[in-house]
Amino acid sequence: MENLLPIAIGILFGCGCYLCMRRNIVRVLLGIMLFSQAANLLIFTAAGLSTGKAPIIPGDALTLSGAHADPLPQALVLTAIVIGFAVLAFAIALVLRAYHKTGSDDLDTFRKSDQ
């Protein structure tokens, strides 16, 4: 899996890059989404994969025992997911508003819209 996931992350990231360079605003939105998925997976993978249990301490113990996943990167990714969502929601709203203002889905026609 350590050889498979990097390829998948690379594909997500590459697709995100390509989409972010498009003139069509919807494609740019899709690119941002792929970016944030790739970033989350990157953090998750970089800490090392583990098929072990979730880092939840059983009711009868004071600490974790045996193989378990590292909780810290999970906490980081959790934050990243939520922030990514916030950014995305804002971007989606912005795109809608921009489309309403300019009547165009072509980013190049936006250049004159702030004058």
């Binding site: 350590e2 498979l4 990097p6 989404m33 909780p71 990714v77 709203a93 190049d108």
Partner: protein
Amino acid sequence: MEPFWIILAPLVASLAAPGIVRALGPGRAGVVLAAVPFWIAGWLLKDAFTGAAAAEWSHPWLPALGVDLALKVGGFERLFLFLVSFIGGLVCIYGGSYLSGDGKAARFFVIVLMFMAAMLGVIAADDLILTFVFWELTSLTSFLLVGYKFYDMAARKAALQALLVTAAGGLSLLAGLLLLTRITGETRISMLAAHSAEIAASPLFVPALLLVLGGVFTKSAQVPFHFWLPGAMAAPTPVSAYLHSATMVKAGVILLAKLSPAMSQTELWGWIVAPVGALTMLTGVVMAIYQTDLKRLLAYSTVSVLGTLVMLLGFGDSFSFKTAMFLALVHGFYKGALFMVAGTVDHATGTRDVNSLSGLRKSMPWLGVAAAAAALSMSGVPPTLGFISKELLYEAKLSLPFARHSVAALGVLANALAVAIALIVGVRPFLGGHGSAPVTHKPGPGMVLPPVVLATLGLALGLVPGLLDRVLISPAALAQGFDPKTAKLTLWHGFTPVLALSVITLLLGAAIFLRRERFAFLGRAVDAVKPLTPSAIYQSGLDGLLRAAAYLTDWIQHGQLRVYVRITLLAASLLILLGLWHAVGDFSLTTMVPPGFFETMVVLLMSVSAIAALVAKSRLAAILCLGGVGYSVAFLFVAYGAPDLAITQLLVETLTVVLFSFVILRLPQIRNISRRRTRRLDGAVAAIAGLAMTLVVWKSVHVRTHESISAGIIECSATEAYGRNVVNVILVDFRALDTMGEILVLALAGLGVTALLARKRVLSRIEDPLGEHAAAGETRPVNPHVKTR
């Protein structure tokens, strides 16, 4: 009294000037403010008469670099300080009267007095760095004064030109001075002479000399940097009289004289300085003779005199040095007077064109006397100071070790042309019948008295040259280590070849004056080679620089975000790949976690969804792709022990898909806009970026330099934070502040989304592009596409 008052007093006067001008008006304010420079001049003269020892003062400024605020007022400094402060006083009186109709005369006084302080600083400073600081201040104040009529495009252009030329020279000078301190480890100018052998032997000597001369030649308007000086005539005439004839342009000469004890004892000095000076001497008068504007005539003849001074210093012997000191003083007197005369004539008649001026002696007799006396001094007619200085000049040339006859012949030619110029400026406008330009403003005493004083001094001191010699000139030469006894300042040297040359010069000059119309061909000749003149080269260089800057800005700052992204991605990816290349040996393919069937399928689904998103044209397909990637990621979280992440991911993904569907259906179908070539290029860049990312992750999962720091957190989670889900404990306890920030971001994004979407009519407007239901009073973009899609 301490020497620093010389610099401080004009600065204080400069600060007080606006108040004084407001209270008394410019004319009287000029007289009051003139008291300050006159006081300085008087003090210097008193010290000169009593033969007081050199006054020194210093205060640590940058002790770590050995740079002090060091001032020295010795014999040499006294001569030039006197010249600057004395003429400065007269210029204050003259300028006040000249600008009395100008509502902004206070500005003139403020800057002129600041300039005076800076100029006195250049002369008195005994520290190389301090000299440079004052030097630059004179350039800056000169810029402000040339651009005094800032509403005039030509004045602004001339000011910028003067600043660019002199400031570029200033940079060169700074580099040269720093090299000098590097060679000697000394920043005191008065200590440099002791190191002269060391300087001459140093390999850094040649660059240091060339750089210093770059500063000197630009400031003192030597060929090929002379062109800024006639341009600087856009300044009001009092400024031209002060800065651009009597004082600032002599700063280069002064510095040359200050450094000559340390640097002139080399062959290179003579081979560079003297020829440049000689060339400038000739160029100045040749350019002057065909001019018709009084100020331009004077400006070019000033260029010529500056060339003569530089040439004399280039000769490097005691006789020439003393002659240069004398000529600098004499020139200040007669040229200052002539400039003031030109200004008064301009002020009175409204023109400076020599061809439309004549018969002014009837309306302005005193001015005519001053003009004639100054012109006689400039021509070198006995018994003026100019006669004595010209005799010395010829003697200096004739005592050269080589080429003395040709140098003397060139000198005769230059001086003869100078005689003609003096007659054109100082005599011609006052003779003859009434000219075509009548006197409309009769000049007040403030505009007549200063030139009369200067011109009279030029005459009167010619009768007692020994006094001047003893008090100012000889001490100046002596202070710089030159023997003052070699040259004697007397009116009568006997029947010598020098006297013959003087007579020839006067006769030739008179002949040129009478045939001056013949020299118009020089103007046509200069026009013919216009693209090759230094000023044209300067202009095209400046234009080229601006064009190149505009082109470069357009090229780099084109404003296309996509291109910035492309370049950034490409550069970053290539750098990452380069870095990984060196670590390629460490790549390992071993896996700790073997890929299961379901996991592999999920990764495949995710990748296919992402790739499908690239080409999706239908909005529904885009939503599907998005969901495919998001839910696959959630599944991976489940598979690798992160149930919290999976729950959050599922929730967020669902929300995203809902929001996205809600919005995307209000947008048109996705279409290709960029050209095929662009898409291919972007595809290649994206592929490289993806490859770099893959390799980085690949490497990072196999490298572990530290153990996870989670152990301590897990230890405390249940016992101290009383939570069993460690991820949750981290979020709400260990990194609680972080989480609060996250909530804040979410709240702000929510506010933003609300602000963007919850405007009442946003959504309805898009669904209803013709705007039948839109409220009146708000303009609506007309867009045919919305309706058709």
